[in-house]
């Protein structure tokens, strides 16, 4: 049993604090992804857990032991590095066995464990090769193999897929997920790629500027983001943000956009948003809440707009249309609509039940 717990963990480099008192509980065998833009402190957190960076203040607990002062080798962790960090002068076998040799494990058992790991990762044929004779994907596997053979309590991944090309990245992503199902262990995985975070994580930790901004399941961070930052960071194409004010008219509550046009607020949300009247707000609409259907507008559940199409980006399965809505560029995701071009009118309904509303000043969700 080994979960990981961070208690008020902070990191300072000289006068600059890059991680500000983070609290996080990773449960036993849980797959947690730390995600955020570069420089948000996610790698630093991981390196503190690994023991490669000193912890300025706070405590890190693995299992039930505070490991602040333990050397990396005594923390019972394994790490996969972004650049793989394979020993270039050693064969794949030796790369895998190096850690076991250091632990003075008998040769027969080393061989057994290396071969078992090689089997899981399909690298049995390369055991006698040097890393430079391997492709990027194979190196990636070896790097994971080196972590597996040690049978650690916690796996740490530091952007392991960012050196691979797009296709291989998708493939390895699936393999990492399978691997976690085969080798049940606690995993902490760092990435800047929100797609990786969404697909791999049981829980996502969204970080920015050294703070944790939101922790939740992929579904939670996607559908219930707590701030403009999280809403904009998770999801591609990114959520549309439109400045607006909440006003009350004869038809009930509605959002007045900057060009004076209005979007209704569904009746079921009236109570929640009612107190925000006459304040500067930001409306958040995901690209997929726009539809072409002709569903009846009941109690303000739908809004109708008819914008003029700007840029069209066909993706095959979907097409992205960009247009101007009250001075803001908006992107919507549609099934591939044949024949629509720049300048055409695209009548749309907006599913207002799936709207997000943020405070323009605090950028927090309302």
């Amino acid at each position: 049993m080994a979960g990981v717990e961070l208690r008020k963990v902070a990191k300072r480099f000289g006068d600059i604090e890059v991680v500000h008192g983070i609290d996080l509980v990773v449960r036993h065998n849980e797959f947690v992804v730390l995600v955020g833009p570069s420089g948000c402190g996610k790698s630093t957190v991981l390196r503190m857990i690994a023991g490669l960076e000193e912890i300025t203040s706070g405590e890190i607990v693995i299992g039930d032991k505070v490991i602040n002062e333990l050397a990396p080798k005594d923390r019972d962790i394994a790490m996969v590095f972004q650049d793989y960090a394979l020993y270039p002068h050693l064969t794949v076998f030796k790369n895998l066995s190096f850690g076991l040799e250091m632990q003075k494990i008998p040769a027969a058992e080393i061989r057994e464990r290396v071969e078992a790991a090689a089997n899981i990762l399909n690298i049995t044929d390369f055991l006698e090769r040097k890393p430079r004779q391997l492709s990027g994907g194979q190196r990636q596997r070896v790097a994971m193999g080196r972590a597996i053979v040690r049978r650690p309590n916690v796996f740490l991944f530091d952007e392991p897929l960012s050196n691979l090309d797009a296709k291989l990245r998708t493939q390895m992503r699936t393999e990492i997920k399978k691997l976690h199902e085969t080798v049940k262990t606690t995993v902490i995985y760092v990435t800047h790629d929100q797609v990786e975070a969404m697909t791999l994580a049981e829980r996502i930790v969204v970080m920015r500027d050294g703070y944790v901004r939101q922790i939740g399941s992929p579904d939670e961070v996607y559908n219930r983001p707590n701030s403009i930052f999280v809403a904009g960071f998770i999801g591609a194409p990114t959520m549309n943000f439109i400045a607006c004010r909440l006003t009350e008219g004869p038809q009930g509550l509605s959002l007045t956009l900057q060009d004076g046009s209005a979007l209704p607020i569904p009746a079921e949300l009236a109570e929640r948003y009612g107190p925000q009247k006459n304040r500067d707000l930001v409306l958040g609409l995901r690209p997929e809440v726009f539809h072409q259907d002709e569903a009846p507008v009941v109690n303000g559940s739908r809004a109708r707009i008819a914008p003029t199409i700007g840029v069209v980006e066909p993706l095959g399965s979907d097409t992205l249309f960009f247009f101007d809505l009250a001075g803001t560029e908006v992107v919507v995701r549609m099934p591939p609509l044949v024949g629509l071009r720049r300048g055409d009118t695209l009548p749309l309904t907006i599913d207002m039940g799936k709207m997000h509303l943020f405070d323009a000043a605090t950028e927090q969700v309302l």
Partner: protein, 301 residues
Amino acid sequence: MAFAIRRKRTRELLLIWFFLAPSLLIFLLYRIIPLLWNGVLSFEFWSPYKPAEFAGLYHYEEMLLYDDVFWQAFWNTAIFMASAPIGILIALLVAILVDTPIRGRNVYRTIVFMSYPVMTVAVGIIWQWLYNEKVGLFNYVLVSLGIVEQGIPFLETASLALPAVIVASIWQVLGFYMIILLTGLQNIQPSLYEAAAIDGANAWMRFRRITLPLLRPSIFLCFVIGIINSFTNFDLIYVMTDGGPSHATELLVTYIYRVAFKLAQFDYAAALTIVNFLFFVFLAWLANRLAGGEVGAVETG
């Protein structure tokens, strides 16, 4: 068609030879012909005053069987060469020190490297002063500390002269070794050390199992430079001791010079040169074999 292609090829070949010609000519005039003539000369009795006579292996016999000075110069050269690892070891320690993130590391690096661009003649003169029996720094320190009663004439004592010269030579090349090794050290990805630390390797193990193997190409390069240095260190010896006292610091190069230009025995000097040349070729071959394919151990790309 075929004719046109052949004409194009001929033109290309002509062009290639045309551009190669100047350097080939110089190479031929100053390398190949002298070497061949030197070979011929070593099998002759030759003097500026009378026609040459065929001598067979006379000079080689003389050298290998009867010439003690030759053997002394040979072994001195070998010792000089064998001192290269000491220099490399010191340079490695310095490189590791300079590679640690300490304040002012660039200053230290520059200071250590500064000895390298200094003219060898100047190095020789400086060290001659340092070793001086009456006014030298070393003797001043030794006498002041009461370790010795009187100054030691380092360069005039047969048993001390060679080590003294070797120390000066190591000092001179140390900065260059250090730069090569430092580059090698900095080419090792820091994540390798981190991976090894997580794998459970302590500092010594990381040095032995990661640093040393990955530095092998750099160390090998230093070694080659060291060997070449011991064969060509004519100027330093010439300035500091001129091969003395009583051939204690005589190297093959200084001995060849002495025999040819002071004793005017050009035929014998030619034979010495051939042996020197063969010795050098043998070492180059040996070094190449020892490096055996592993020279490119550092991963690229």
